[in-house]
């Protein structure tokens, strides 16, 4: 099975005015194609930091990270951007949709930046919006939608570029349980269709949807548990 993520001894330190915070302390992990991995742990354990580094939104202070066999060390800002565009779909806890763009335009963004033709963009965006059941809202603006709907748009945006890896940061954190369940069902469905998903959550109900669960504490992996087989 193809390795999508290979992390070796990843450290992340934040320098404050007087104290240094060691957010990640030697994380090593591998994620294969088709896996659904849940990263759990208490607040401040380094879950989101790990996801940010995995998504090339942040860089490690130390350690090696290969994404889809690309060594990410020493990459320039625009090189990281390009890798993100081609290989990663990111779903944020607070959705991060652009208010002055329509649903369609928000979802189309990664393809626009990739230089995809308009006809292909249309076809692909409609496809993913259908997948998340939001096609009927394609001309709406984000602020006209509910939280659950916004999160589904954010997932559609993450899917649209057919990335090797979908990173999901607390997807249910801003949602009520009904919307949270719907989003998790969608993620499960996507994984069954072949998407590799890494999800950060502190909700144990949802972490059980994953194939594998990694638990962090104080910046270290404390347990790693295979929950079910990869589809």
């Amino acid at each position: 099975m193809r390795k999508v993520v290979e992390m070796n001894n990843i450290h992340k330190r934040y320098d404050g005015q007087q104290i240094e915070t060691h957010a990640l302390q030697g994380i090593s992990l591998e994620i294969n194609s088709g896996e659904f991995v849940a990263i759990t742990g208490p607040s401040g354990c380094g879950k989101s930091t790990l996801l940010s580094i995995m998504g090339l939104m942040d860089s490690a202070s130390e350690g090696e990270y290969q994404l889809a066999n690309i060594n990410t060390a020493g990459l320039k800002v625009d090189q990281r951007t390009q890798i993100r565009n081609e290989h990663i779909g990111y779903v944020f806890q607070s959705f991060n949709l652009i208010d002055n763009l329509t649903v369609f335009e928000n979802v189309a963004l990664p393809l626009e930046h990739r230089g995809t033709s308009n006809s292909e963009i249309k076809q692909r965006v409609e496809q993913v919006l259908t997948q998340v059941d939001m096609l009927h809202r394609q001309n709406y603006r984000p602020n006209q939608l509910s939280g659950g709907q916004q999160q589904r748009i954010a997932i559609a945006r993450a899917l649209v570029g057919k990335p090797d890896l979908i990173l999901v940061d607390e997807p249910t954190g801003n949602l009520d349980s009904k919307n949270g369940d719907q989003v998790m069902a969608l993620l499960e469905q996507l994984n069954k269709e072949g998407s590799t998903i890494v999800m950060v959550t502190h909700d144990s109900r949802y972490s059980r949807c994953a194939n594998r669960q990694i638990q962090l504490l104080d910046g270290r992996i404390v347990t790693e548990q295979q929950l079910k087989g990869v589809a």
Binding site: S52, T81, N85, L97, I98, H113, R114, N118, G161
Partner: protein
């Protein structure tokens, strides 16, 4: 639709949807661009446009030889005779020529045409490279009875027909035969506007050289000589060489006692030679003005840019998350910047259009603003350079502003921006940049305002200074005496008592009083306010020093009519004037110059020997009056002592000063017919109120006053909206922080104080730096630009106080608006 197209569309929509961003941008940049582009249009025309009618510019230089009568008055020594001698002496340097422009009405077929007349040497066309279009060359022998006309006059008065040659025109009551047509020559330095309808009076230098020259008379006949050399870079005579030439010239032209007297006078007076390129001479003080204006508008543009940058940075800060999202989904830095560029472009284009409109308006107003003092004024317009400059500036600024869009984003840790709530301090992580920009802006404002205030004060003082007299409801009447024979007859000073000029002046005065109801001819000569100046010199017997003074006229009612203070003694009575007594009145300056050790009362009755000049006034001091300023609108009065004589010279024109009761007016129509009937040899009658002369004399200073006031206003406006904009944006960004402070018990006033305290250091550092830069820069500029007045500490203090007040207000008002609009709401959101 592509993202770029979408951004462009957003940009158009933003003009209306985000007026807090678009209006300051369009107004600030538009107004500033208007100023910058106007200066670019003026300078590109003046510095680089080919000169109409002057085709040899590259090989031309000008040469001035001036006598400095006082610190502010210098007079050119050149006339045609002296040019002829100079040309022969320094022939190896190149071809020397002379040209002198003047206003001249000419009559063609009973129609009067206002023209510019050129009195020029016969080699002028060769030297200038101007084309003779038709007729005889100006080098013809005895050109005195002939006249050459310009192409425009030829077209307008004769319809451009070739048969114009040999036709007659009348100028100064004399008939001239048209010998040729010359292309319009527009680029000659002049105090008056150069019209394209021109007439040329040519002097044959070979013939002129044989005529006598009164070498002691210095009267600016020709302001500068032209020298045409192979490379336009000839080593022109030094002051020593020119002085040596002058001594020889006087020796060759004067005999007897006068020779030494002239030599003494001419060699003991301060002189200067000025050699420069033709264009530099043409531009004169305008060159310095362009540099000053360039410095000012670039300062303004810099201020406006910093100002807008601050507003944009604050705007970008509010969009940090949006940009971070774009980056997170794969947009390159360049792409995001390009999108921002596209978004900004419509507003910037609108600003450029506003700037060009402002420029067009400013250039259209230029003749009103600059009057006749700016050369080539008709050629100044929005040209290719101006449009290219506007595009370049706008594109440059757009690129700069777009480049800064991502300044607040941590490109290597996007998560910081994406996970931030946008609340609190984090929203202004680059606030230091805004503050640095604001400090620089305040410093520039301080420097600009210093220069503005100094010039404003100088202009104000020049315009509204105490002249030493009241103008009242007085009028100046002028008329020309056209024929030379009559002028010579009137100038017979030996026969002054019963001379024709005295009778003529008395008769014309009576005629005016008889024909204009309630009029009172105060003096048949200049009023105290006058554009004319007659300067003479003599060697004081007491001190041996050379005294240069201005000679003015008096009448028995002159001083009282204009409310001029008599400090000692008395004016001459009518009986003393009628008896032609050897008495004069002098001003205080003359009394102090001649009798520094005596009190004013002791000076009365003293005698001043003005030398042997037949034109010298009588010499017993009968009274002393206060100093007056005869030519207003100049920063430094001429400062020449004055002698008032009752003997009134008859020259080529006559002047009368008439007082009317308040509210009454007079015009030439009231007595022109009678004047023509009784005195047919007098022509060109003109009547002007003295207030009009005052307005004309002070025009440049008044205009400069208003321009500088406008610039000052614009600078203050920029500083104010810059500070206000920054405060508005930063306070808005700190809503969350302010809300937390309020939630924990801070009152609104305390929050305002908190923000004010925060702004105070900007003010202190900005104005402190500005103060140092102002003093230093101003001292440097003062050395380069003569037009700048000396540094005034009082003005500087007042200015800083004004700036502090404006900045404080600009901080308090927007801060209060944000604070009073319930910042607690921020806590309830999200």
């Amino acid at each position: 639709m592509s993202l770029m197209k979408k951004s462009l569309q957003n940009g158009v929509a933003r003009i209306f949807a985000l007026p807090r961003l678009s209006i300051p941008l369009i107004l600030t940049l538009g107004l500033t661009l208007g100023a910058v582009l106007s200066v670019i249009a003026i300078s590109s025309t003046l510095l680089y446009q080919p000169l109409q009618g002057v085709n040899n510019e590259q090989s031309l230089q000008t040469f001035e030889y001036r006598f400095k009568m006082s610190e502010t008055l210098s007079v050119s020594y050149w006339n045609m005779n002296r040019l002829a001698a100079m040309r022969e002496r320094f022939a190896e340097m190149g071809e020397w020529a002379g040209i002198s422009p003047d206003d001249q009405d000419v009559t063609i077929n009973d129609t009067i045409y206002p023209t510019t007349s050129y009195a020029a040497s016969d080699n002028i066309l060769t030297v200038l490279g101007a084309k003779l279009l038709l007729g005889d060359d100006v080098t013809m022998a005895s050109p005195g009875d002939y006249i050459w006309i310009s192409e425009s006059l030829w077209q307008s008065a004769f319809g451009g027909v070739k048969s114009v040659l040999g036709k007659q025109l009348t100028a100064n009551n004399q008939n001239y035969t048209i010998a040729g047509v010359i292309e319009d020559v527009m680029a000659i330095k002049s105090n008056q506007e150069i019209l394209n309808q021109q007439v040329w009076f040519i002097s044959n230098l070979t013939e002129v050289k044989l005529l006598p020259d009164n070498v002691g008379v210095i009267r600016n006949d020709i302001d500068f000589l032209l020298v045409r050399s192979d490379n336009g870079n000839a080593q022109l005579p030094t002051l020593a060489q020119t002085d040596e030439w002058l001594v020889n010239y006087i020796t060759d032209n004067v005999e007897g006692d006068n020779r030494q007297m002239f030599l003494d006078f001419l060699s003991n007076t301060n002189k200067e030679v000025i050699a420069r390129s033709f264009r530099s001479n043409l531009l004169g003080e305008t060159e310095g003005l362009i540099i000053a204006l360039f410095a000012a508008v670039i300062g303004l543009l810099l201020m406006a840019t910093l100002n807008l940058l601050n507003i944009f940075i604050a705007h970008y800060q509010s969009r940090t998350k949006e940009f971070a999202i774009q980056l997170s989904v794969g947009a390159s830095l360049l792409k995001v910047r390009t999108m921002v560029f596209c978004e900004n472009l419509p507003s910037f284009i609108l600003a450029a259009i506003t700037g060009l409109l402002m420029t067009g308006w400013a250039l259209k107003s230029l003749p009103i603003i600059a009057g006749d003092s700016m050369p080539m004024i008709d050629a100044i317009s929005i040209n290719v350079t101006t449009i290219a400059a506007s595009i370049a500036i706008v594109l440059m600024l757009s690129v700069l502003f777009s480049a800064l869009a991502l300044v607040d984003i941590d490109k290597k840790a996007l998560a910081n921006n994406l996970n931030s709530s946008g609340k609190g301090i984090q929203a202004q992580s680059n606030q230091w940049l805004s503050r640095v920009l604001m400090v620089v802006q305040l410093s520039i404002a301080s420097v600009l305002l210093t220069a503005s205030v100094m010039i404003t004060m100088q202009s104000y003082q020049a315009v509204y200074q105490d002249l030493g007299y009241d103008i009242g409801n007085s009028f100046n009447i002028t008329m020309d005496i056209a024929d030379d024979e009559y002028i010579a007859q009137l100038r017979d000073w030996e026969q002054y008592q019963d001379s024709e000029v005295k009778t003529l002046l008395a008769d014309v005065s009576t005629l005016i009083e008889n024909n204009v109801a309630d009029s009172n001819v105060i003096i048949p000569d200049f009023a105290p306010l006058s554009a004319s100046l007659q300067v003479m010199a003599f060697q004081s017997e007491e001190s041996g020093q050379r005294v240069i003074y201005q000679i003015r006229s008096l009448s028995s009612k002159f001083f009282s009519a204009f409310n001029m203070k008599v400090l000692a003694g008395a004016n001459l009575t009518q009986a003393q004037i009628d008896n032609d007594e050897e008495r004069i009145v002098i001003d205080e300056n003359m009394a102090r110059t001649m009798f520094p050790d005596l009190s004013l009362d002791e000076v009365i009755g003293k005698t001043i020997n003005f030398g042997n000049s037949p034109d010298g006034p009588p010499s017993i001091v009968n009274g002393i009056v206060a100093n007056t300023i005869s030519q207003t609108g100049i920063a430094e009065p001429l400062g020449l002592p004055a002698v008032y004589s009752h003997r009134i010279n008859g020259g080529s024109n006559l002047q009368f000063t008439v007082m009317l009761p308040e509210g009454k007016s007079m015009s030439a129509d009231m007595f022109e017919t009678e004047l023509k009937r009784q005195f047919p040899r007098l022509a060109n009658l003109q009547v002007r109120p003295l207030t009009e002369i005052w307005l004309q004399q002070t025009l440049n200073q008044r205009v400069s006053l208003w321009i500088v006031l406008l610039m000052t206003g614009l600078t203050l406006f920029l500083a104010a909206i810059g500070v206000a904009g920054l405060t508005q944006m930063t306070t808005n960004h700190r809503k969350y922080e302010l809300a937390v402070r309020m939630a924990t018990g801070a009152k609104q006033m305390k929050l305002v104080n908190y923000i004010l305290k925060d702004a105070l250091w900007m003010l202190v550092v900005g104005l402190g730096l500005g103060f140092i830069a102002s003093v230093f820069t101003y001292q440097q500029l003062e050395q380069q630009l003569e037009l700048l007045p000396s540094f005034n500490w009082l003005a500087m203090s007042v200015l800083d106080l004004a700036l502090v007040s404006i900045v404080m207000l600009s901080v308090i008002m927007p801060a209060w608006r944000v604070i009073s609009a319930d910042p607690m709401q921020a806590l309830r959101q999200e």
